[in-house]
Symmetry: C2
Subunit: 332 residues, 2 copies
């Protein structure tokens, strides 16, 4: 294994978030399950937008949020994804580059628009996403930056991209490329419904070439088709080299080759918007893993980053995570 | 004077704000005076955007912010302004309508894009604006909704629009229309440099047909070409029927036909972003004036709204101002 220049490179949807508040009753009106992500078409997104309150627009995308977090910790991060040559594409590109993430894709002209997600935040801070997938899903193996993948300690893959066969193939090729270079492959299951749509492929992919899997409770339960978290966790322990299971306020479990570690969630004065909680948890953990820190320290960095992002609107860190981590004595 | 259906109708630039943080040194690098608004072209805006941190996008525009504030207090508000048929135009239209402001303009196709302002927020919370004026300045008397103007207790005009002769003519016609219907005309001077560019016309306009003038310290000093606030205030008292002078943390002065009222600024735990402070001050005052409340109560509503908006990012209220005002016993 040769030295790497990047800590983490991720592949995912390049999305601009449109975040506004709504009451619980509005979720019922539009038929959305609280806390979930669903795909909507252009008509539906216009209808939902029309009924929600004033919004702000801010860059998002699950893996992209994670890489912004890795960069905020001081890690060297790269992103692979697609934007269109439009305003939202310029916003996405600016924001990810301005935090120091390497992002070299040229915007695509004259096809689909840049992807966007209408995020409805209920009074409890929970987010429900309605995503209109534009150009970002049009991803195939030709879009892989193989040099960047070989040059990164960890390749991080966003499960949402499993929704398109070509993108799934790209993931498989990317994972092979990383493995050949002696790099680690990490995957986030992204969403319970996403797991439901692709259970068999996810399991095959995990068993054949993934080193680290991130999942929350509903995702891991969906993967193993059980309603019991402990059952799902027991399966994960057997199946997955390094499983990182997040449980919101209950903290997280890390299982790795016989080690069972429980990490507490960091306290938050007020949960404003949970958008990006899982993404930033992954950021802290991946930063720690790429730097060779212990599983426990990596988990604590993860909890720190998740707590920061849910204390304000938007899915990217609002303050530099490296200084927060230094204040806590987690990094020097 | 017949009964009115609207409390306040405003005419101004329809702008989407792009708000990001920067250090004081970056303002020097780009040659921007802290706290000011300047007009930039497409090349310049791209250059400044490239060097600033991650940003969020949120609807703005001075008069539009004020009307959003009036609506948040429970007032009936209308906005007259121009957006293009693009993403930023859809964002602007959604946000202003979703808070209950009447906005009927059809988006304009195939000309200039929707206007936008790059807002750089320094660590002290002060905002410096770099505005790229697109379709919103292309305003002339034909764009006036004369029925709406006649139907509103107060017509509110944003001084920024004085930068174009056709828009200036539109203001004069709008003010005449309002006066003929027995309505009040209010004007904000918008920016010291804007006053500097149009001092003579502003003075003529104020003396000939404006009932209420809003100005901050630098604007009123610029209007009367003095470096001394007290001198400027003395001029304003003589010249202006109802002068409302804002002085940031020092509060505000209201001068009206012999009455001199000083209103304290509301305390703020942490000034996060001063964008919209003057706009929301005007919102509180205009709401009070339209409802026939006393000058002192109107001033206190104004301070309340300004304090709310500087405690978070963005120039629109984040919580309903009517409930805040009720908690304070300012309205019932």
């Amino acid at each position: 294994m040769t030295a790497h220049r990047f800590d983490v490179t991720g592949i995912g949807n390049a999305i601009v978030d449109i975040i506004g508040r709504c009451d619980d009753s509005y979720l019922a009106t539009i038929g959305a399950a609280k806390g979930s992500m669903r795909l909507v078409d252009a008509d539906e997104i216009a209808k939902i937008y029309g009924g929600m309150g004033p919004a702000i627009e801010t860059s998002g995308g699950s893996a992209a949020n994670t890489l912004a977090g890795v960069a905020s910790f001081g890690g060297k991060a790269g992103f692979i994804g697609k934007v269109a040559d439009d305003e939202f594409g310029r916003i996405f590109s600016h924001d990810i580059r301005s935090i120091g993430v390497s992002f070299n894709a040229s915007p695509v002209k004259g096809q689909m628009p840049t992807s966007r997600s209408l995020i409805l935040v209920t009074p409890d801070g929970e987010r429900t996403m309605n995503t209109y997938l534009g150009i970002s899903t049009d991803f195939d193996p030709a879009h892989l930056d193989r040099d960047l993948i070989r040059d990164s300690a960890i390749l991080y893959l966003e499960g949402y991209l499993f929704d398109r066969p070509e993108a799934k193939r790209a993931f498989q090729e990317a994972a092979l490329e990383a493995a050949k270079a002696g790099r680690k492959v990490a995957l986030t299951l992204s969403d319970g419904f996403c797991v439901d749509r692709h259970r068999v492929e996810f399991l095959q992919f995990i068993r054949n070439g993934v080193d680290i899997v991130f999942a929350n409770e509903s995702e891991i339960k969906s993967l193993y088709e059980t309603t019991n978290y402990d059952d799902a966790a027991a399966h994960a322990k057997k199946d997955i080299k390094l499983a990182v299971l997040t449980r919101s306020a209950k903290g997280s479990h890390i299982f790795s080759e016989g080690q069972d570690i429980t990490v507490a969630a960091d306290p938050v004065a007020k949960v404003v918007d949970t958008t990006g909680a899982g993404d930033l948890y992954a950021a802290g953990f991946l930063f720690g893993a790429a730097k060779g820190l212990s599983l426990e320290t990596s988990g604590r960095l993860a909890s720190l980053a998740a707590a920061e992002v849910i204390s304000h609107i938007g899915a990217r860190p609002a303050v530099p995570l490296d200084s927060l981590a230094r204040q806590r004595g987690l990094i020097s």
